[in-house]
Amino acid sequence: MSVVAITDVTKRFGGTTALQGIDLEIEKGEFVSLIGPSGCGKSTLLRIIGDLIQPTSGTAAVNGKPVRQARIDREYGIVFQDPVLYDWRTVAKNIALPLEVARWDRRKRAAKVKEMIELVELTGFENHRPWQLSGGMQQRVSIARALSFDPSLLLMDEPFGALDEMTRERMNMELLRIWEASASTVVFVTHSIAEAVFLSTRVVVMSPRPGRISNVIQVDLAQPRTATTREEPRFFELVTDVREALHLGHDLERAPA
């Protein structure tokens, strides 16, 4: 059974069609990136999977359940570009928030928070306030919080978009390590071709007006990815493939009807 099953999804906002006829299946353990220019509907698609908005037509299911039921069953962890941390809570308490909502008892909660802190390597910062951390550290808290309740699906909307290039590459490595350790499935929205290729098992290329899937590229780079992965010839070939797919989508848009 697929973790994510999107069938013929269309989303309209007023007169504009944000998504048209989207079909997408994601298997357990996959790392799928959605890439495309602004307005291609990649974030909209992510939000439909996360039941933050509803499609105009078509169906979206997660683990065989309608997305709404999957959300109620806490099947998703979400990470936005903005870490959305709460200043009145310490790092540990921020990570514990979903567990408090889910009514985990205190001892179980403390153990899980400790595990998460170790996973994102923030030991020693448990009692810091979010504003005392750097941008990269804040985003790691956000990831730890999203994973705290063991969701089967991690939805990430340009999580490293606000970080500098060096921090971003380090966070990419970090995320792959976490993905391997947590055995979750990831849907990752990004603007960066290199980031998409480096992280993903599959890159879904989207094109705008109306938002649709124009190409799907299987990334056959060896696992686990390392710092040298970015220097392999195959990496550059795949980057070129994705770039060309993006431009093709762009040309389609400009071609006369």
Binding site: I72, R129, S134
Partner: protein, 274 residues
């Protein structure tokens, strides 16, 4: 991660002692201005022989304040209780209504324009009316006007705080399958706290104004407003001014008390440690 994570800033420690110590040096320039201002006031009156009915000497006010301190304090305490009662009743009602309006947004959008408009009207003008609702001689009439004065700024600020939550934060709460109550308790109310305290600080000033001005329209003799009014009528200006000074001190005390509670409650706000 290969690099060792480093904190941007250390965790501030030291609590209130450190904060107060810091404040003392901060207050030094202001204290100099206060002393200088009073000195100038005293000097101008002595130099130009200003009549007491225009403005008494600070030294004369201080001496009267000391000599009449027992009656003054008794009146001041009476009025302070009215202000405190009005502040508590008005602020509590405002916060409760704001919670209701934030929960049921249609109700909020129907009532908010009137709350904002009410914020702009001179509510103190209703003081004679509340005096007739209740007996002018008991505290209820002054508590009522102080409460109404406190109500609107607290309502408007609280509602603004409750509704100024980052939409992403609400989406995250949705993804944890949190109910409305959980969202209020864990996100909306903490987000609103700094706004609520802003409203409460404004309300402390208004509560004291409401109580004193309410007494100008009638009240027992043992009340600060009545005392100021009657002393001024019989040309006891030093006594009237002593009453005004006490009203100021009580107002400032209430304000500082709320500001101190705010500081203790909102320890997590970065600016607390500046």
């Amino acid at each position: 991660m290969s690099a060792t994570p480093t904190a941007v800033q250390p965790v501030p420690r030291g609590g209130m002692t450190r904060l107060v110590g810091r404040r003392l040096t901060d207050w030094l320039p202001a204290a100099v201005v206060l002393v200088g201002g009073i000195g100038l006031w005293e000097g101008v009156i002595r130099a130009f022989h200003v009549q007491a009915f225009l403005l008494p000497k600070p030294s004369a006010i201080a001496s009267t304040f000391w000599h009449t301190r027992h009656e003054l304090w008794s009146a001041g305490w009476f009025t302070f209780q009215e202000a405190l009662g009005g502040f508590a009743v008005g602020s509590a009602a405002a916060i409760l209504l704001a919670l209701v309006l934030a929960r049921w947004r249609l109700l909020g959008s129907a009532l908010m324009p009137y709350a904002i408009a009410a914020n702009a009207i001179p509510i103190i003008a209703f003081a004679p009316i509340t005096n007739t609702w209740f007996s002018p001689l008991n505290k209820s009439s002054k508590i009522a006007i102080a409460a109404v004065l406190c109500f609107f700024p607290v309502l408007v600020n609280t509602l603004r705080g409750l509704t100024s939550v980052n939409p992403r934060a609400l989406e995250l709460m949705d993804s944890y399958a949190a109910g409305q109550f959980e969202i209020f308790r864990r996100v909306r109310v903490p987000t609103a706290l700094p706004f609520i305290f802003t409203g409460l600080r404004v309300a402390t000033v208004l509560a004291m104004i409401g109580a004193v001005v309410g007494e100008y329209f009638g009240g027992t003799l043992n009340a600060l407003g009545v005392r100021i009014l009657t002393e001024a009528r019989v040309s006891q200006f030093e006594e009237a001014w002593a009453g005004i000074v006490l009203a100021c001190l009580l107002g400032i005390a209430l304000y500082l008390a709320v500001a101190a509670i705010e500081r203790l409650t909102l320890r997590w706000v970065p600016s607390t440690f500046e």
